[in-house]
Point group: C2
Chain length 151, copies 2
DNA sequence: TCGATAAGGGTGCATACACACCTAAAGGCG
DNA sequence: CGCCTTTAGGTGTGTATGCACCCTTATCGA
């Protein structure tokens, strides 16, 4: 694996690790991607239900990707989209009771996967890695589009 | 971005960085994922055309994912699948002349993206990151499936 | 030689992801 | 108030990804 492309290395690692986490969450038939949505909504419940745009921002997802990703979750009754009474354009995303229950059941499964990774990779290196990855996600934010430059 | 899930952090970083690399490759209408395929085939040409399974292994991809991913490349005439004369089951993947040309045109675009990343993240940290990611990809290899355990 | 098993691949399906483009509602201004 | 611009989202399309399941060809033992 003499991958010299950082992006490809990142994608490869993400694929592999996703498979491990997905396997851990398999008993609840939830993907790590879906777990991330439920978990984010749960952890930041105190701030009130986020709009689509806010949630997409938090998850580092394209706004339209979130629209697509929420479809199976809404179909299964884990999340619900409610119209904002103050802004007819905005739709706020909430966890349903089933969504809360699912998240509670999945958390130990996720924890097991995370612990398993930390044990083999090292807890401290793992934390450092997350920091690096967060920095990349934050920094590459505007890198893709070199500013439209209208006129 | 207080992501505590290593897998989600990895996926998020991969999404963002992919957007940056994709933007760099946009003039040639090639994704970084597709570039990785062409580049891998080109760099290891001396070993002779790999079978589907071998190439999937190299790329850290599921075998069936590679089947799907090769479709647009084959459609556009960048790669070709040739039957193995010694094994009727095996199909070997080769770069076509167009594939070679495309790879040559894309290389400087990829290089620019990689250099841009290295400048902001640091060349040495970048190399260390690739090593860590390669280790994760290699190690998480069998983690997902805990061995079938037949009977 | 033949039948069972293993190995190499492909298909169908569902989710994940983002871009181009569209719609509708909100805000601002004459 | 009516018009224009901005803003929040959705849709359609195409690639990316992997699992369950299927087919075909090798391989090997009786």
């Amino acid at each position: 694996m003499d991958v010299e492309c950082t992006c490809s290395a990142l994608r490869m690692a993400a694929r592999r690790l996703s498979q491990a986490y997905d396997a851990a969450l398999a008993p609840e038939k939830l993907s790590v991607s879906q777990y991330a949505v439920l978990s984010n909504l749960a952890k930041r419940e105190a701030e009130g239900p986020p709009s689509m745009g806010e949630l997409a921002e938090r998850l580092g997802l394209d706004r339209t990707t979130l629209t697509h990703n929420l479809r199976p979750l809404a179909r299964d009754g884990l999340v619900a989209l409610v119209a904002d009474p103050l802004d007819g354009r905005s739709r706020r995303v909430t966890l349903t009771p089933d969504g809360w229950a699912k998240r509670r059941r999945c958390q130990p499964l996720w924890r097991a996967a995370q612990d398993h990774f930390d044990r083999s990779f090292g807890t401290e290196p793992s934390r450092a890695l997350r920091d690096s990855l967060a920095a990349i996600a934050r920094h590459a934010e505007g890198t893709a589009a070199p500013v439209p430059e209208k006129d």
